[in-house]
Amino acid sequence: MTRSTDGPWDPAIVDLPLSPWRDRFLWVEEIQASPAGDAAAAVVRLGEEGFSVCVNGDPWPEPFEKIWHLRYAPDGRLVALASREGEWTVVVDGVPWENRFSFVWNPLFSRDGSRIAVAFQRDMAYGMAVDDVPWEETFPNLTCPLLRADGAATAAVVQTEPLSEGDIVKYREGIYTAAVDGRPWERRFMNVWGLACSADGGGRLAAEVRLSPTEYTIAVDGTPWGETFACVWTPLVHPVRGTVLAPVRREGSWWLAEDGRILWDRPFVQLWQPQVSPDGRHIAAVVAPAFGRWTVAVDGRPWKATAGEMASDPCFSPAGGRLAVRFKDHGRWTIAVDGRVWRQARQMVFTPVFSPDGGRLCVRFKEQGRFGYLLDDRPWELAAEAAWDPVFSPAGDRLLLRTVEGGLFRRRVLPLEDFGKV
């Protein structure tokens, strides 16, 4: 450690050498950085006894036969999926859940990280488990697991009865539905895909459903909309209005619909990834206003600026006043904010992060295997071996950057005006 710190947002650089890890273990897998940047962890190979997780240089006390999907939860707990004696479970900060499964995958965190859910298979029966409590009812198959943002409910697409190979008749009759906390909807569908629920209690669960080979619609709490469409994409529950929004296809074009009625006055060649601003006043979606041109539309009006390859991950600023999206054009990624495209483009840019007041925007990038950051279109070529998304201080005047540079895991807090200087 090169310097000590007093508070989490005092400007400082704290380094943690990673090379001892490599000397100590047979191999070290991808480094994970804790949200606060105070810890780094990785799955490590011990030798004959299997695998462990190394946190800040120290392995978990008990090894496992196999460990994968190591991730920090938003609250800083370290979560992995691990097996012992052929049985799988969730391990939180080195402590396994008591429940054992044939397999677990797709761990999900509530917004604050306090609840952890996972999809499981136990003796060929499928379900979800939250904080070591499995669903009572299990199913022949389960897909699209979902944990509500407040962590109080889980949902998934479930298959309600077994299907033998080639049984197109039973399939056509419908053996799929959605289940909330293990309780399936009454109605069955030919297919069910993307689920969406409101962020907290009293909400609705919406799903893309297929009623027949050519009829699609959205079902809300088990009841399909009256209207059917040629196709639909994953819906979204409006956080303020409580209505359900979804892209729908009609006569070869895509529209945005709300509770079954067309909402926006014009269609697009493509329309998906709808988002509602945190204040609930604006709706944005990725759209293709013309074949092969991509941008976002806000409240039905597309930006003039378009990209030829992709527009992805639209995100509103915390207060909802600004909108950023990842653009890909001529093989290079960049960011477009409020209709203006940044000049800096990179081989890869990651998820854009707004400051709390929405005034600043920072994003991590990667070029030829090396990482750096862009702050409001200004680059910092750190040439880091690894990097994580930037974090703004609550006041918005400082940045927390987590990187691996020269074999050191580095936690760097700096005032915005020092961006690019240290």
């Binding site: 070869g252 013309a290 074949f291 092969g292």
Partner: protein, 219 residues
């Protein structure tokens, strides 16, 4: 007869030209608008370079594998189509008519050449007719309309040759020549003879897809 001849070489002639030009433009515009309305993406892939590369290979005899596989057909096809286009444009009698009507002129073919070219067209039609009868894969997809097209194409040349040599009633055959020529012009936008309009477009599109997207040859 004179009245009919005047009608055929006057109003009918201009009407047939109008239908031919207007109809052809209409067909092309109709196709263009249809593409714009329903398959606008097609324009994304059109490439001038690869369109010309493809068309270039297919309008040269023996420049493609399939032309080489069918040498007789290839010779007949190219001779037939070239003669079909050259003869009416460069026949002395036609050039004179253009000169009289519009005071424009261009070099004309010697009559003997024109006769040879006309005979090539007629022979081509006979060849295609026989091919439609005896080649199973062609017979299988041949419909009455294919014979009608062949007949329409052959008629002005057969009647023209007869009129030139003044066999039978020269006035009758001159009239028939004019009328059948007009019928052929009028038929272009309304029968599958419109392949003369569309073929460059379909070739250009396939050439573009193969060249610019698929990085492959299409000949």
């Amino acid at each position: 007869m004179n009245e009919l001849y005047r009608l055929a070489t006057g109003p009918l002639l201009w009407a047939s030209f109008a239908v031919f030009v207007g109809g052809s433009l209409f067909r092309l515009l109709e196709l263009f608008l249809l593409a714009r309305r329903r398959e606008r993406f097609l324009f994304t892939y059109l490439s001038l370079r690869y369109s010309l590369r493809s068309i270039g290979h297919w309008i040269v005899p023996f420049a493609t594998v399939n032309w080489r596989r069918h040498p007789v057909l290839t010779i007949v096809t190219f001779a037939f189509h070239l003669s079909l286009l050259i003869t009416p444009l460069f026949l002395l009698a036609h050039v004179v008519l253009w000169d009289e009507a519009w005071n424009v002129s261009w070099p004309a073919l010697p009559d003997a050449w024109a006769i040879v070219l006309s005979l090539i067209v007629i022979a081509g039609c006979v060849f295609f007719f026989v091919r439609r009868r005896v080649t199973p894969e062609v017979a299988y997809v041949t419909s009455a309309s294919d014979y009608v097209i062949l007949g329409l194409t052959a008629a002005p040349f057969v009647t023209g040759v007869i009129a030139y040599y003044q066999w039978f009633d020269v006035r009758l055959f001159t009239l028939l020549h004019v009328v059948s020529g007009e019928a052929l012009l009028v038929a272009v936008p309304f029968t599958r003879i419109r392949h003369m309009l569309f073929a460059p477009l379909t070739r250009a599109y396939m050439g573009s897809e193969f060249g610019a997207v698929r990085h492959a040859r299409d000949w």
